[in-house]
Symmetry: C3
Subunit: 203 residues, 3 copies
């Protein structure tokens, strides 16, 4: 799978998740498009700013903007005719996380950075759009809720991807396994409410 | 009207809106100045970061900072002696939006970008300061409230400005009409509570 | 004291304050690390982005990341065995503010900027990490609470530091006095609940 394609898939599923969150808040049509675009493009934008990678991706490649808006409009149209399943937002979010975490890690690797920075930038690419979506739509950020394994899955996925690369596995295979790791762990966390332990604070 | 003047007017009215929001939250004097400055300078700063336009505008031109602080101090002094009308915050915000949206669009055009990017950067310049103001002072961002036509007016104003330029209208005239479009639509939305339709989500 | 050491101390105490805030919200282990890292690295990151100082500090120098994570892990371990005093968060925050405000001011001076920009960047370095921590953990940002003298102490500390430099005082001494000013004023504000006057808004 090419980098552009993976990235555009990430943009589209995150745009769907942003549109669904905005529709639940009963925002008007343009509010829905704005939240969808910010969710879809926020993570990559912050990654590009932190890495001084200019112009920012959607400034050079407006296809990103059209993909986000197109996916948001399809979501609006779909929800006029069919009820979106309750789990749709979580699933779109899990897929977007998987695509973005690995595409962010790949871009950082290509710029010549190593270990810790690759993990952090992959995670940033994956989680920042959703954090902005949640802050703007006044929800507690998913990343911070108990038992969500959110950043954890991102970190695990990138680490696994880097380990596979280190073992000489083909890049495309390592990327695919990394993505599957992120999406799989998120779905497990959502379905069985698995989470990391919470450390009780002595009072 | 020159670009600098329009931009400084935007800075001052947004600083007034930030100061009024902070005073309503009973912040102390310096909190008021901080919120006023962030509201006034936030949109242009984010635009400059996204476009890699360095140094950021108020770093080269501290006049921006003094204009924001001066307007905030005048607002504090004024509200000691006179009651600010309930609508003062909304009106200052509408004017700031009009000035900033068009000045952001002009700056982006001058850098050689086209259509979609100009609309997005004009909108970003206009709305981001207010979003930060609302998040910091713990209000639901204006841009997301129902029936506010907020981003809509920004997008409409920039689009109208670009269409007029495309038709060969003089730049100053196009800019003036664009600003009037933004401010006029915002005031109509505020006064008559006009808004875009909300799409009901099937449940 | 060298710049690096002061900066790393700032990173560590802010990481402690972030970890304590996250533990109070009963986040899971990785949520605690994420909030600690964002609190510790957020202010310097935003300063570097605003000043176009690339690569961002922790991208070149991963020691910053390890310092933040190490301090967070120690905090987690400590709170398993001992109750952290109620005031621990405030004190860690005050120390971090003092270290970061002066290190941010120094870095900005070294880049050749003067007065107002140095004050603003010192303040930004000091307060932004804490603001992000508070927004992410859904607390009203400390900087905006009444009677906290938060940004005020930062501005006073940098101003004092600049005045001492102007009077020909050795840089290390001026930096030490600037830091002591910030930390001292914050502790006074916390202990005696001293604050700037709130301007009542006429209604």
């Amino acid at each position: 799978m090419t980098l552009l394609l993976v990235d555009l898939l990430g943009v589209m599923v995150f745009a769907v998740s942003g549109a669904l969150a905005a529709l639940r808040k009963e925002m008007d049509l343009l509010g829905v498009l704005v939240i969808a675009a910010v969710t879809a493009l926020g993570g990559g934008t912050v990654r590009d700013l932190l890495l001084d990678r200019h112009p920012v991706i959607w400034v050079t490649e407006p296809l990103y903007i059209y993909a986000a808006l197109g996916a948001a409009i399809l979501t609006v149209v779909y929800t006029r005719f069919r009820k979106a399943p309750d789990s749709a937002l979580s699933i779109a979010d899990a897929l977007g996380l998987g695509f973005f975490v690995i595409s962010g890690a790949r871009i950082t690797l290509e710029l010549g950075y190593g270990g810790v920075i690759v993990v952090l930038m992959g995670t940033t690419t994956g989680v920042v759009g959703g954090v902005i979506r949640d802050i703007l739509s006044a929800r507690v950020p998913l990343i911070l809720r108990k038992g969500e394994l959110y950043a954890t899955t991102a970190i695990a996925g990138v680490t696994f991807y880097l380990v596979l690369l280190g073992l000489g596995v083909a890049e495309g295979v390592a990327a695919g396994v990394g993505m599957a790791t992120v999406v799989g762990l998120r779905l497990v966390a959502i379905i069985w409410k698995v989470g990391l332990p919470v450390i009780p604070l002595r009072r």
